[in-house]
C-alpha cells in the first residue's frame, strides 16, 4: 500500500511538471520569442484556458501527500519553509501576470506584467529544479523527523548542506533550460506565424544545452549522494527511466531537425516524466534521505498514514482522478489546434 501511494504522489508530481512545466516554460522564453503585442497576446492565449488546471496538479499532489504521508508533509514543508514561501509568492505573481495583463489596454500596464511573467516563471523553474535536487541529495533530518535548512551554508552538499549548493544550483539551471525547451516546443505547437518560427528556432538552440546539462547531472548526482545508485544496482529495471529520458532527448533532436513541433513536444514530455521517474526510482522506499548522523531517512513505513485512511482514499482518489482526466480531455479537445492570431475570447 505504501509503495502504491508513493508512486501515486510521484506520478501526480510528474503530471504537474509536464503540464504546468510548459506554462512555466512559456514564461521563461516569452520575452525572447514573442515580440509584438499580437504575439504576446497569442502566447498567453495558448496557455490561458489551461494553466490554472495544470497548476491544480501541484495542489492535488500536495494534498495527497498530506493525507497519505503526514510526517513527510509536516517535515518537508516546515523544513523547506523559506523556499516554499518564495515558491508561493512566485506562483501568486505568475498567476497575476498571466491573468491581469490583458485587462487594461495601457502599454505600461502590459509591459509590467510581461516582465513579471518572465521573472516569476524563470524563478519558479529554478526553484522547482533545486527543490528536486534537495530531495535527491538529502537533508539533515533530526531524531524527531524534522529539519530546518538555511538558504545556503558553504555551497557544498555534505553533512551541513543549505538549500543552495553547487548541486542544487545545477538542478535549478537544468530545470530552467529543460522547461524553456518544453515551453518553446509548446508554443511552436500552439501558435503560428513569427512566434511559431522563433519558438522553433529557440528550441533548436536549447536542445543541446539540455542534453549537456543532463549528462553532467548524472555523475553530479552520484557525487552529491553516493547512495543514489543503490536502487539501480539492486533493480536494474530502474535503468529504463534514464534510458527513456535519453530516448526523449534524441527524439526531440530528430523532431526539431524535421521541424515537427508536435513530435518534439511529445518527446519533451517523455523526457521530463522519465527524469522524474528516474529520481523517484532512485529514492524508493525512502521519501526524504537523511544526511549527517543524527537522524535517519524518512521512509514510506515511517511516514505512512493508517490502513483505513489509505483504503478509503484509494476509492475516492481513483474516482476523482478519472473525473479530472475527463475534464482535461474536454478542455484540451475544445481548445485543440493553433491559437488564432486574432483574439476571440469571452465577450466578443
Amino acid at each position: 500500500m505504501g509503495i502504491l501511494w508513493f508512486w501515486i504522489v510521484a506520478l501526480m508530481l510528474a503530471a504537474y511538471v509536464v503540464l504546468d512545466g510548459f506554462d512555466i516554460g512559456v514564461g521563461v522564453v516569452y520575452l525572447l520569442v514573442a515580440k509584438t503585442e499580437a504575439e504576446r497576446s497569442q502566447a498567453l492565449r495558448a496557455i490561458g484556458p489551461v494553466w490554472d488546471g495544470n497548476e491544480v496538479w501541484l495542489l492535488a499532489a500536495g494534498g495527497t501527500m498530506f493525507f497519505a504521508f503526514p510526517l513527510l508533509y509536516a517535515s518537508s514543508f516546515s523544513g523547506f519553509y523559506l523556499p516554499l514561501m518564495m515558491v508561493l509568492w512566485l506562483l501568486i505573481l505568475r498567476g497575476l501576470s498571466v491573468e491581469l495583463r490583458g485587462h487594461l489596454q495601457d502599454p505600461l500596464w502590459r509591459s509590467f506584467f510581461d516582465v513579471l511573467f518572465f521573472l516569476s516563471s524563470t524563478a519558479l523553474a529554478i526553484f522547482f529544479g533545486s527543490a528536486l535536487a534537495n530531495v535527491v541529495r538529502g537533508v539533515p533530518i533530526g531524531a524527531d523527523g524534522y529539519f530546518f535548512l538555511p538558504l545556503w551554508t558553504d555551497w557544498r552538499p555534505g553533512p551541513h548542506p543549505g538549500i543552495l549548493d553547487w548541486y542544487t544550483v545545477l538542478g535549478g539551471v537544468l530545470a530552467m533550460v529543460a522547461l524553456a525547451l518544453h515551453g518553446a516546443l509548446y508554443l511552436a505547437v500552439k501558435t503560428e506565424g513569427g512566434l511559431e518560427h522563433r519558438a522553433l528556432r529557440l528550441a533548436r538552440r536549447l536542445g543541446p544545452a539540455v542534453a549537456v546539462l543532463t549528462l553532467v547531472s548524472i555523475p553530479a548526482t552520484v557525487v552529491a549522494r553516493p547512495n543514489s545508485l543503490h536502487n539501480y544496482e539492486t533493480h536494474p529495471a530502474a535503468f529504463l527511466a534514464p534510458v527513456a529520458a535519453f530516448v526523449g532527448l534524441v527524439l526531440v533532436a530528430t523532431a526539431l531537425k524535421a521541424r515537427k513541433a508536435v513530435r518534439g513536444f511529445a518527446a519533451s514530455c517523455l523526457y521530463l516524466a522519465s527524469m522524474l521517474t528516474g529520481a523517484a526510482a532512485g529514492l524508493v522506499p525512502v521519501l526524504l534521505p537523511c544526511v549527517g548522523t543524527e537522524g535517519q531517512d524518512l521512509t514510506i513505513d515511517r511516514a505512512l498514514a493508517g490502513p483505513h485512511t489509505l483504503r478509503v482514499g484509494l476509492v475516492w482518489w481513483s474516482l476523482g482522478i478519472a473525473l479530472a482526466l475527463m475534464y482535461f480531455g474536454i478542455v484540451y479537445w475544445l481548445f485543440r489546434g493553433k491559437v488564432p492570431q486574432e483574439a476571440d475570447g469571452y465577450g466578443h
Binding site: L44, R45, G48, P49, D52, G53, L59, A60, G62, G63, T64, F66, F67, A68, P70, L71, Y73, A74, F77, S78, Y81, L84, M85, L88, W89, L91, I92, L93, G95, L96, E99, L100, R101, G102, H103, L104, Q105, Y146, F148, A305, G306, T309, V312, G313, W316, W317, G320, I321, L323, A324, Y327, I330, L334, F335, A343, D344, G345, Y346, G347, H348
Partner: protein, 450 residues
C-alpha cells in the same frame, strides 16, 4: 512576539485575506447561474449581458481567490507541522479531496465559461456556469469539513503516540457540525454576492446610467439577498448556535459575555466586556432571551464562564465577544435593508426610492465584515484548542520555525497582498465604470488572455 503568536497571526492574516475573494465568488457563482438560466428562457438580452458582465468580475475575484488560496494549503505544513503530523490522516483527506474533486472541476469549466461562449452551444455555456458553481460549492464543503473536524472532532481513532486517523469516512463527511457550518457559511457567501450585485445596480440607478442593467442587478440582488439573509438567521444560525451551546459551552458564554451562570439569562445587545472584573460595562440587555434562544424556554440555566477553568477560556475574549456581536448586529441590519428593498420591489417602487438606493450602494463592504467577523468568532471561539478538546493550539505549530522567520514571511505576505489589493481596486473600478455596455473590444479585452 513569540513564535506561536506569529504563526497564529500568519495563518489568520493570510486566511482572512484569502476569504475576501471566495465569499464573493461562491455567492456570485450562484447568481450567475440564475442570470444564465433566466437568459435561456427570456427574450430580454439584458440577462445574458448581465451574466457576461458579472462573469468578468467573477473571473478576477476567482483568480485572486486561487492565488491567495494556495498558501493556505501549504501553511498547514510550513507553520503548523506538529498539527499536520498528528492529524494529517484525518484532515489531509478532505483537503486532498478538495483539490481532486473541486479544483480540477472549477479550473476546467471556468476556462470553458470564459473562452467557450462561441465554441459551445447555449446550453453548453449554461452548463459550464453550473459546473463552476458546483465546483466552488464543493470546494467550500471540503474546507468546512476540515474546519468542522477541528471544531468538533468526530469519527477518528487515535494511536498511543497521539496520531489521529479517520475512523469512519462517512462519519467525517457527515459531521453534523460540518453541515450546520456549511449551510451557514454558504448563505453568508450568497449575502456577499447579493449585496455586491445590488450595490452596483443601485449605483447605476443613482447615476442614471445603464438603468436596464441596474434594474436587473437590483432585482436579482435583493431577492437573493432577502432569501439568504433569512436563511442566515433561521434555520442555519439558530441551529448552529444551539449545537455550539451544547458542544462548546465555554465559547458560547464568552461570545455572549456571560461571565456567570444564570437562570433565564438575558442577551447582551451592547456593552464592553471587562475581563478583569468579569462583567459587562454599560450593558444593554434583553431579559431572558438567551435562555430562550438556546433552550427554547425563558427559565433555562445558561452556563457562564465561571463554570469553566480559566485555562479553557478563549484567550482573547473581547475579540471573540465583539466579532460575534458585529456579526449578529450586521446580520440584523442586512435583514432590515433587504426586507425593505423586497417590499418596495413588490410594490414597484424600489427603482425610484433613491433614499434606499443610497444605503444599498454603500452597504457592499458590510457583508465582507460580517463574514469575516463570523469566521473570527468560529476560530477565536475554538481557542485555546486547535482541535477542540484534543490538541491545544500551543502544541501544533512548527517548533523549528523561529519567530523571526515567521515574521519575515508574514511581512512578505503583507506587502504582496497590499499590491493585490491595489490591483483589485483598479480593475473593479474600471469594470464597473465601463459598465455592461462598454465597447466590447475595450472592456472585454482582458479576458481574451484571461
Amino acid at each position: 512576539m513569540d513564535a506561536l503568536t506569529l504563526h497564529r497571526i500568519h495563518f489568520a492574516f493570510t486566511n482572512t485575506y484569502h476569504y475576501l475573494f471566495p465569499q464573493l465568488t461562491m455567492g456570485l457563482a450562484l447568481l450567475i447561474v440564475v442570470l444564465k438560466t433566466i437568459a435561456l428562457k427570456s427574450s430580454d438580452p439584458h440577462y445574458e449581458e448581465s451574466a457576461r458582465f458579472w462573469g468578468r468580475i467573477f473571473a478576477v475575484n476567482f483568480l485572486l481567490g486561487v492565488v491567495t488560496g494556495i498558501p493556505m494549503e501549504f501553511q498547514f505544513g510550513t507553520n503548523w507541522s506538529e498539527f499536520s503530523r498528528r492529524t494529517g490522516g484525518v484532515i489531509g483527506m478532505p483537503l486532498a479531496m478538495e483539490g481532486i474533486f473541486s479544483f480540477f472541476l472549477e479550473s476546467a469549466f471556468l476556462g470553458l465559461f470564459l473562452f467557450g461562449q462561441k465554441k459551445l452551444p447555449r446550453w453548453g455555456h449554461w452548463a459550464s456556469a453550473v459546473m463552476v458553481f458546483v465546483g466552488s460549492w464543493i470546494s467550500g464543503f471540503f474546507i468546512i469539513v476540515t474546519n468542522a473536524w477541528m471544531q468538533h472532532p468526530v469519527a477518528y481513532t487515535v494511536s498511543p503516540g497521539g496520531i489521529y486517523e479517520v475512523g469512519s469516512f462517512w462519519g467525517l463527511l457527515g459531521n453534523p457540525w460540518a453541515w450546520l457550518e456549511y449551510t451557514h457559511n454558504m448563505s453568508g457567501a450568497v449575502i456577499t454576492g447579493a449585496f455586491v450585485m445590488s450595490a452596483v445596480g443601485a449605483l447605476y440607478l443613482l447615476q442614471r446610467r445603464d438603468e436596464e442593467y441596474g434594474r436587473v442587478f437590483l432585482k436579482i440582488g435583493v431577492i437573493a439577498g432577502i432569501v439568504s439573509c433569512a436563511v442566515q438567521v433561521f434555520p442555519t444560525g439558530d441551529l448552529h448556535g444551539k449545537y455550539m451551546a451544547k458542544h462548546q459551552p465555554a465559547t458560547v458564554a464568552a461570545m455572549e459575555g456571560l461571565f456567570h451562570s444564570e437562570k433565564g439569562a438575558g442577551m447582551v445587545l451592547l456593552g464592553q466586556p471587562d475581563v478583569e472584573k468579569q462583567q459587562i460595562d454599560n450593558p444593554l440587555v434583553v431579559n431572558k432571551v438567551l435562555s430562550f434562544l438556546i433552550y427554547g424556554t425563558t427559565s433555562a440555566e445558561v452556563k457562564g464562564l465561571d463554570e469553566f477553568p480559566k485555562e479553557d477560556w478563549p484567550a482573547t475574549l473581547p475579540l471573540l465577544y465583539y466579532s460575534y456581536h458585529i456579526m449578529v448586529g450586521l446580520g440584523t441590519y442586512f435583514l432590515a435593508v433587504m426586507g425593505l428593498a423586497v417590499f418596495l420591489l413588490w410594490r414597484g417602487k424600489l427603482y425610484r426610492s433613491r433614499w434606499l438606493l443610497w444605503p444599498i450602494m454603500l452597504s457592499f463592504p458590510l457583508p465582507y465584515i460580517a463574514n469575516t467577523a463570523g469566521w473570527i468568532t468560529a476560530e477565536v471561539g475554538r481557542q485555546p484548542w486547535l482541535v477542540y478538546g484534543l490538541i491545544r493550539t500551543s502544541e501544533g505549530y512548527s517548533k523549528h520555525i523561529g519567530a523571526g522567520t515567521s515574521l519575515f514571511t508574514l511581512i512578505g505576505f503583507l506587502g504582496l497582498y497590499s499590491v493585490i489589493s491595489i490591483l483589485w481596486i483598479v480593475l473593479l473600478y474600471r469594470f464597473i465604470q465601463k459598465g455592461p455596455n462598454a465597447p466590447l473590444h475595450e472592456a472585454s479585452e482582458g479576458l481574451t488572455t484571461a
